[in-house]
C-alpha cells in the first residue's frame, strides 16, 4: 500500500544554471492565434532584464547586513539565478529588436525606473541603509508575484495544447521553476532585516501596483510595435477573461487571491507552489540539461 504524498523538501540548495537558447525562427506571437496572451507574456522580456539585474544589485549590497550564514548562502544562490534570468530574457529582447519589433522607448522607460529612480539615489549612512531595506521589501513582494507566475506556468498544459513555441515554454518553465525554488529567499531576508507587517503590506501594494502599471504599458507598447498587427489590435481588459478561460494566462481573480494570500499576517512563501514540482521540471528541462552537459565538459 502506498502511503500518502511524499513530504516536500523543506528547502533546496540554490544554484544558477548556465542555460541558453537559440531563438532563430521564433515568431513574435509564439502562441499561435493569441497575440494578446503572447505579448502579455512577452512583456517579461522587456521588463525583467533590467528588473532582475536590479534585484542582483540590491541583494548584493544587502549581503553585509545579513547576520545569518545560512540565509547569506541562500541569497548568494538567489543572486546567480536572477542574474541568469535577466540574461535569458535579454536574449529574447535582443532577438525581438533584430526582428522588427522596436520597443526601445518602453525599454528606456524601464531602464529609467530601475537604473535611476530605484538606484541608491546618492544616499549614504542610515538613509542609504533604510532605502536598501525598503527596496529589499519591494523585491520580497515582487518575488511573491514571480512565485505565483512560476507555479502557474509549471501548471499550464493549455500553453502546450495551444501549440506554443517549445523553446519559449522551456524558458518560462525553467525561470518559473527557479522562482518556485527560491521563493522564500527575499521574504526571509525581509523578515531577518525588518519583518514588520505594516512595511510588508505597504511595499507589496507599491511594488505590485507599480509593476502592474508598467506591465499594462508594456503590452500596449508591444502590440503597437508588432508589425504583424493592425491598428485595431489593441489590448482590451476583457481579453484577459478570454485567455483565462482558454488557460493561456492567469485571470483577474487569480491575481486578487494571490495578493490576498501575501497580505494575510500568517503568510509564508512555502505555501505558494511546490518545490518538488520545480525540481522535477528542472531535471527534464532541455536547457537545464544542456547546461549540465557543458558545465561538466
Amino acid at each position: 500500500m502506498k502511503t500518502p504524498k511524499r513530504q516536500e523538501p523543506a528547502k533546496v540548495v540554490l544554484q544558477a544554471r548556465d542555460v541558453s537558447w537559440d531563438w532563430s525562427g521564433l515568431p513574435l506571437r509564439w502562441i499561435p492565434g493569441e497575440p494578446f496572451a503572447s505579448h502579455l507574456i512577452n512583456v517579461m522580456h522587456l521588463l525583467l532584464p533590467e528588473g532582475e539585474r536590479w534585484f542582483v544589485k540590491v541583494f548584493s549590497e544587502a549581503l553585509p547586513l545579513i547576520k545569518d550564514d545560512q540565509l547569506r548562502e541562500e541569497v548568494i544562490g538567489f543572486i546567480g539565478q536572477e542574474g541568469m534570468h535577466a540574461s535569458a530574457h535579454q536574449g529574447v529582447q535582443d532577438y525581438f529588436s533584430a526582428h522588427d519589433l522596436d520597443t526601445s522607448t518602453y525599454v528606456h522607460e524601464i531602464e529609467h525606473v530601475f537604473g535611476r529612480l530605484l538606484d541608491d539615489r546618492g544616499l549614504s549612512g542610515r538613509r542609504a541603509e533604510e532605502w536598501l531595506i525598503e527596496r529589499l521589501a519591494l523585491v520580497a513582494g515582487i518575488e511573491h508575484l514571480t512565485a505565483f507566475l512560476g507555479n502557474w506556468v509549471l501548471n499550464s498544459p493549455a500553453l502546450d495544447a495551444a501549440g506554443a513555441d517549445a523553446r519559449m515554454l522551456d524558458l518560462l518553465r525553467w525561470h518559473g521553476a527557479e522562482e518556485v525554488e527560491h521563493r522564500a529567499v527575499a521574504y526571509d531576508v525581509y523578515m531577518h532585516l525588518d519583518g514588520r507587517y505594516s512595511r510588508r503590506v505597504r511595499t507589496y501594494l507599491v511594488a505590485v501596483g507599480y509593476l502592474g502599471w508598467l506591465w499594462i504599458r508594456g503590452v500596449r507598447a508591444l502590440m503597437k510595435a508588432d508589425p504583424g498587427l493592425g491598428k485595431k489590435d489593441k489590448p482590451r481588459w476583457r481579453d484577459l477573461f478570454r485567455t483565462k478561460r482558454r488557460g493561456t494566462t492567469p485571470g483577474y481573480w487569480d491575481l486578487i487571491s494571490m495578493s490576498w494570500r501575501y497580505l494575510r499576517p500568517g503568510y509564508h512563501p512555502s505555501h505558494e507552489g511546490s518545490t518538488s514540482q520545480a525540481v522535477a521540471y528542472l531535471a527534464t528541462s532541455p536547457a537545464a540539461l544542456a547546461a549540465e552537459q557543458h558545465g561538466e565538459a
Binding site: 502506498k2 528606456h108 532605502w131 540539461l289
Partner: protein, 356 residues
C-alpha cells in the same frame, strides 16, 4: 555625414509625463522609508553552528569510517531529509561536506561516512583521525539532492556515493514504492554498508544488484539502467564518470530523468600562486595555487558578492586596475575583459590590483 554627426550621442528618448511625476513620488517615498526605518527592530544575529561530539567511530570498508555525531549543546539536531549534507568543521578549522546517511527520524544523532582520500587536501585524513569524544562543529543540514515523488526509482551508487542513497532507499521501502538499486565499487572490500545492502537484498529479492568491478567488469550505463522499474526516476551518486555516462543515456525507454547532487565550485587544478592588492583598502591577499581569487578575497571581504563559482552568472566580476589576467569566465565580453575579472574562476600571471 559630418564629423559632428558621427560623434554625436543620440538623445535619450524623452520620458513621458508619467515618469516625471513618478520621479517626484519616489523622492517622497524614500523619505517615508527613512521615517519607517527609525522604528525598525534590531537585526538579530542567527548562530547556525552546531557544536557536536564524535559518539562512535566504525570501520565501514577499506579506507571508509562511519562517524556518529551527537549534539553538545542541545538534545536534538535540526531535521533533515534524504539527500541532505552537512559541513563538518574539523579541529584544524578545515571544512568538508558529507552526506547524511542515518535515519532522519532519529535526531539525537547524525551519521556520516568518510572515505580517506590521500592528497585530497588533508580533510578526509584528519576526519579519519577523529576519535570518540572529539569535538567538532557542524553546519547545515542543507539539501542539494532533493528526493521527490516519482512513479518508481532506480538508485545507483558508486562506492562512498552510497551515503545519500541509503536513506532514500529506506524511505522508498517504508513507503512501498517501486524501486531497484545498483551498487558499484572497485571491489566488495571497498564498498561501505555492505551488510545493510545484503540485508536489503534478502528482504527484497530481485531489487538489489551488487556490481563490484573486479567481479563484474566496469559497469556501463545500459546495464545499470536495465535494472530500472518502469517509468523510473534515477537517483545516482558516485564517481563523475559514472554519473556522466548515465546522464548521456537518460531519458531512455524505462527512465524519465536523472537526479544527482549538484556541486557549484569545481576544484582548482594546476594553478600558480599570485598576489592580489586591494586598491581601496590597501591590503594584499595571497592566492594559493589550489584556490580561486574569490576564496582568497573572502578571507578579507566575507560579504563579497558572488554566486555560481563557475564563471557564467556574472555576479562576481570586479574592476581590474593593473596586472595580467587569465580569463576563464563565460560571462564577460572581450571589451569587458579589458577591465573586469570574474574572480570565481579567472586568475592572473602576476600581481593583480583590484578596485576593492
Amino acid at each position: 555625414m559630418s564629423p559632428a554627426e558621427l560623434v554625436a550621442v543620440p538623445d535619450e528618448p524623452a520620458l513621458g509625463l508619467a515618469f516625471r511625476a513618478t520621479a517626484r513620488l519616489v523622492a517622497v517615498y524614500e523619505r517615508i522609508s527613512a521615517v519607517s526605518g527609525r522604528f525598525r527592530p534590531e537585526v538579530v544575529a542567527v548562530d547556525r553552528d552546531l557544536p557536536a561530539v564524535v559518539h562512535s567511530v566504525r570501520r565501514e570498508a577499506d579506507g571508509v569510517v562511519g562517524l556518529e555525531l551527537r549534539p553538545r549543546d542541545r538534545e536534538h539536531f535540526p531535521a533533515w531529509e534524504p539527500g541532505c549534507h552537512l559541513d563538518l568543521v574539523l579541529p584544524s578549522g578545515a571544512m568538508r561536506q558529507y552526506s547524511l546517511t542515518g535515519d532522519p527520524a532519529d535526531l539525537t544523532s547524525y551519521r556520516i561516512a568518510v572515505r580517506r582520500i590521500p592528497g585530497g587536501g588533508g580533510g578526509s585524513i584528519e576526519a579519519h583521525g577523529l576519535a570518540v569524544g572529539d569535538a567538532v562543529v557542524l553546519r547545515g543540514p542543507r539539501n542539494a539532492f532533493p528526493f521527490i515523488e516519482a512513479p518508481g526509482y532506480l538508485f545507483v551508487a558508486g562506492g562512498i556515493g552510497i551515503t545519500p542513497i541509503l536513506p532514500m532507499i529506506r524511505e522508498a521501502v517504508a513507503r512501498g514504492d517501486d524501486w531497484a538499486f545498483v551498487y558499484t565499487g572497485r571491489s566488495v572490500t571497498t564498498m561501505p554498508f555492505l551488510a545493510e545492502v545484503e540485508r536489503l537484498a534478502t528482504e527484497h529479492p530481485g531489487r538489489v544488484y551488487l556490481r563490484p568491478d573486479d567481479l563484474c567488469g566496469l559497469p556501463n550505463a545500459e546495464d545499470i539502467l536495465a535494472a530500472a522499474p518502469p517509468a523510473a526516476t534515477v537517483y545516482a551518486c558516485g564517481p563523475p564518470a559514472m554519473v556522466d555516462a548515465i546522464r548521456a543515456a537518460v531519458p531512455s525507454e524505462r527512465v524519465g530523468s536523472l537526479h544527482h547532487e549538484r556541486f557549484s565550485a569545481l576544484p582548482v587544478r594546476g594553478g600558480e600562486p599570485f598576489t592580489v592588492r586591494l586598491h581601496r583598502s590597501g591590503r594584499t591577499v595571497e592566492v594559493a595555487g589550489d584556490e580561486t581569487v574569490l576564496t582568497a578575497l573572502r578571507r578579507e571581504i566575507p560579504a563579497i558578492a558572488y554566486s555560481c563559482q563557475q564563471g557564467f552568472c556574472g555576479t562576481c566580476p570586479v574592476e581590474v586596475l593593473a596586472g595580467t589576467p587569465i580569463h576563464r569566465d563565460r560571462c564577460l565580453t572581450d571589451q569587458q575583459r579589458e577591465h573586469r575579472l570574474a574572480v570565481c574562476v579567472s586568475r592572473a600571471e602576476d600581481e593583480l590590483v583590484l578596485d576593492l
